[in-house]
Symmetry: C2
């Protein structure tokens, strides 16, 4: 993918954030941003590093995750095109507390945060856009704390499957998840060991709630998944 891809997104207001900007502001971004390609499983940035860019995912799928005790990772957020990330740590004036990596081959635009800050300082609507974005993320993070700490394994995995559907949607058959992730990632998303993710997934298959073909997951009974996610 070449630079024109992001230019299109920006100039045609394909994402809420850009519709806020004046033409002059849009051009400042178009002049400044750089396109980066990442391979499957490649790290975009790592915990502890100094934040520099606002990343815009143009194509592919990205995970934000954090390494915990004994190298176990927790996936904190899933990114889809066209979404933005990487700005929180810069705003907080601290190093990254989590890492970002590509699930699959992905194309991203990088806008220097200095420029973003400059735009924010001069465009109040952009500031308000980020206030809303951060507020929504914070609410989601607080909710996640309770979900991950209080639900049992089945509830957490059911929830993860719903999250995957909400983020990446279904294939044309209206039931196959449009993301093909390793069992380990599924485990890291729902705070359990890989063995338990596999085992619990098999359980769902036996109960005819889903079917599984390698990394291809078809959801047969979404209502039941939501029920399990809610009650256990």
């Amino acid at each position: 993918m070449i630079k024109s891809a992001l230019e299109k997104v920006i100039s045609e207001d394909l994402a809420e954030i850009w519709s806020i900007l004046t033409n002059e502001e849009k051009h400042r971004i178009i002049d400044a941003f750089e396109i980066h390609n990442f391979k499957k499983n490649q790290i975009i940035y790592a915990e502890g590093e100094a934040p520099e860019y606002l990343w815009c995912l143009l194509k592919g799928k990205v995970k934000k995750f954090k390494e915990g005790v004994g190298g176990r990772a927790q996936i904190l957020r899933l990114i889809r095109p066209v979404q933005y990330f990487g700005y929180r740590a810069y705003f907080a004036q601290e190093p990254y507390v989590s890492s970002a990596g590509a699930f699959e081959a992905s194309t991203l635009g990088a806008v220097p945060m200095e420029l973003v800050m400059d735009l924010i300082r001069n465009n109040n609507n952009l500031a308000i856009f980020f206030i809303k974005e951060l507020s929504r993320n914070l609410g989601g993070s607080d909710t996640k704390i309770v979900n991950l700490t209080q639900k049992h394994i089945r509830g957490r995995l059911a929830e993860a499957l719903i999250v995957l559907k909400d983020n990446y949607g279904y294939e044309d058959d209206n039931s196959t998840l449009k993301i093909y992730m390793a069992r380990e990632d599924l485990a890291n998303l729902s705070n359990m060991t890989t063995s338990n993710a596999i085992r619990t997934l098999s359980g769902f298959v036996n109960e005819k709630i889903i079917t599984v073909d390698g990394r291809r997951i078809r959801i047969l009974n979404e209502a039941m998944l939501k029920k399990i996610s809610k009650f256990g």
Copy 2:
């Protein structure tokens, strides 16, 4: 406490947020805010309600918490004077996802969020203040997810004690925590049952890491607590 208390905070720049405002803006807030007193354990607002005010804690101690499965609560954040809260849900344009309650008799100022939004729209530095505040909270929330899901009971309780110290500090003896909370709250802060909070606390007493006298907790070996919090 009477209204002049918050006037003092505002006009004398006792909190970072107000130093950003012009005198005219400060007066708009002083004219608009209301003082509310809450008794020990009284709810300030509850999950599901529509957000209306920016709350400013002037005196006392406040907890933000969220009810989970089976009525178990998770304490998400501790508030001390002079800190602000209650604005996230308004910015996100959604109902509260968590509740706020007073640990002890507390005095709060309530500023209508409409006014805050109006000030933000006209004062970019205030917008940037909230961006930074939200960003820091989001980082903390993400870190908390990993701490609460991956650490074992001892680590979580040790961490909670450090958090209490960081938030409310020590008494004049430089070792007694300046907050006296029920074991149940301690449990809700560190994601465990009340029994296990009591048991683990006793363990720390036996190991001469702390002493306990009712709700009075003295920390004898802070370094050891940090070590336990980090490694196990």
